[in-house]
Amino acid sequence: MSPDVALPLLVGLPLGAAAVSLLLLGRPLVLQRTVSLVVLATMQVLSIVVVASVWDGSVVSVRVGAVDPAVGIVLAADPLGAIMLVVSSLMLWTVMVYAIGSQRTKEQAPAFHPLYLVLAAGVAASFLTADLFNLFVAFEVMLVASYVLITLGGSRDQVRHGMTYVVIGLLASTLFITAIGLVYAATGEVNLAALAVAMDQVPTGIRTALGLLLLVVFGVKAAIFPLFQWLPDSYPTAPSPVTALFAGLLTKVGVYAIIRTQTLLFPTGGEVSIALLVLAALTMTVGVVGAIAQNDIKRILSFHIVSQIGYMIFGLGLFTLAGIAGAVLYVVHHIVVKTTLFLVGGIVEERAGTGALDRLGGAMHTAPVLAVLFLLPALSLAGIPPFSGFVAKLSLAQSGFAAEQWVVTGVSLAVGLLTLFSMTKIWNGVFWGDPARAAVSLDREHVVAAPMTVATAILVTVSLAFVVAAGPLYDFSERAASVLLERGAYVQAVLR
């Protein structure tokens, strides 16, 4: 299948399926489930087709509606977008499998499946669009679905925390429109490739201002340093699979947008680059320090998302080939590992009814498989060799030293230690100790449905596979980084 068909299908298919899923409301749930799983599996296949076509570092593009690229909708996939697509589709279908097995997800709620598919379409569109305004639309499609998913069930707690999420999201969207308006006023373009050319004519001051404005917009979505407070506030209250998906995917869509716009539109780095490095160091530190005080698995993990985002921004801020390649590798590793950890946290909650560390304990004896499923990604997150986190952090640290950014690199290594501390804290609280002494134990009567464990195990296996495939994966990340830095291939493909 050619990318000409695959790219529009990746966006259109889940939307069409959402429509079918809506029409299937009131029919047996198995129909909706089948539609969702089939479509998400198809997306996985399509995304692999796309990656295969850009594996050598080329860029493919499609003009939707076959109209002039200056006003039409252009979808383009470069190595970065393609690898993000593959990993995202993997998350989407595994988390769907998990949600179907889960009792506490409200997966049976009427709107769950249609919304999930709309979210999938929004995520795919964000990675594929080559137009600043369509990026806004894709973000909105994704966010509107996420607003409803995060408050699904509508308990008092969820409404309170969901409200923060929605209001912050809307504020960021308004800023996004503002940024688009100003970019259009300055250049007369919204197509990313045309902008890349037009931006060079814009005076430096205005260009820096636009770059910073876009950084703030996507920084809110990605939860970087001063703009992250909404994340640990709102994520933990959502149903576990929803939290897992958001933790793995949504913030990373923001990171993707930062990488895309900063490299394509503001390629010189300069002041923005220094700002990025400072923000990266602060994001890493604040996230990991914030996690220390927390007592709930999902809250600890939520703070760690913030901390990990810092690493990705660090890689980008270096503006070197190795730095951006490291950032790409880190994003890919992080999406898989973080989602897995949240899924494990969800299983603990489902079996014990709580995620509070001081009430749990001794799960290693009563749930040994779960303990292994937590331990592997946790060690990976902390960057212990030989796991995928080690590979990603090593490449980042190396590029940091190569770029002679001693302070930020030092901070990133120290934060790695603190991450290990947090993971140990969860391990001590949930898995170690005597199950008899814990207030709540994960006894054998509360074994969760097989799909939940299977989905988690699949993700753990994938993150282990990253270690084996580290060489080719890193080479691919480097090709992605070189496409990002050189810009020419992307601009030509989009404007052809």
């Binding site: 000409d4 068909v5 529009p8 299908l9 259109g12 939307l15 069409g16 959402a18 429509a19 079918v20 899923s21 809506l22 029409l23 409301l25 009131g26 499609v62 003009r63 939707v64 509606g65 076959a66 109209v67 909708i73 009427p110 249609p114």
Partner: protein, 176 residues
């Protein structure tokens, strides 16, 4: 300000049913509504078809028809809306989205690209020469989605507000 609570069963046409005499129901509004409602729906449909090369389109049309429904709601509550449009909102949303998607997918057949705008000139006996575009199908889809959205808002917000209206009045004194 608060619309009447409870089910309102009323036949179509001028206010003549038993509930038309309900003290909470405005006769003036009922009479005006019977004039305005059909006009508004017709105007909405006009906007839908005019949208191709004049101001209009699916979204505006959906809003106009949706506003007509809101007017129905103000006059007779959720039951009145149910009577005028006895459809579940998810059917409207699903059908609209599917229609929009189908018109996009049809682009592959006609023009070889997703969302390709196809155009055909038809000779219809009474109307004469008519230009039909695939964008119209897309607009109809958008129209249905917007109407579905308004309907959903009326049912989830409005109907729930009706149900709670008495409940709140009694409890408000205790809470504050």
């Amino acid at each position: 300000m608060i619309p009447p609570t409870g089910p309102v069963h009323r036949p179509t046409g001028p206010p003549a049913g038993p509930d038309a005499n309900s003290p909470r129901r405005s006769v003036i509004l009922d009479v005006v509504l019977d004039l305005v409602f059909r006009t508004a729906v017709l105007f909405g449909l006009f906007l839908l078809f005019a949208g191709h090369n004049a101001p209009g389109g699916g979204f505006v049309s959906g809003l106009v028809i949706g506003t007509a429904l809101v007017l129905r709601y103000v006059a007779g509550g959720a039951a009145e809306v149910d009577r005028v449009l006895p459809l579940e909102e998810h059917v409207l949303l699903g059908a609209g989205l599917l229609l929009a998607f189908a018109s996009g997918a049809a682009g592959w057949i006609f023009g070889g690209a997703f969302l390709y705008g196809a155009k055909a000139t038809l000779e219809i006996p009474v109307l004469g020469t008519v230009n039909a575009t695939s964008a119209l199908v897309f607009d109809v889809g958008v129209d249905l989605v917007v109407i579905g959205l308004v309907l959903g808002l009326l049912r989830s917000l409005g109907a729930a507000a009706d149900r709670d209206a008495d409940d709140v009045d009694t409890r408000r004194g205790v809470a504050s």
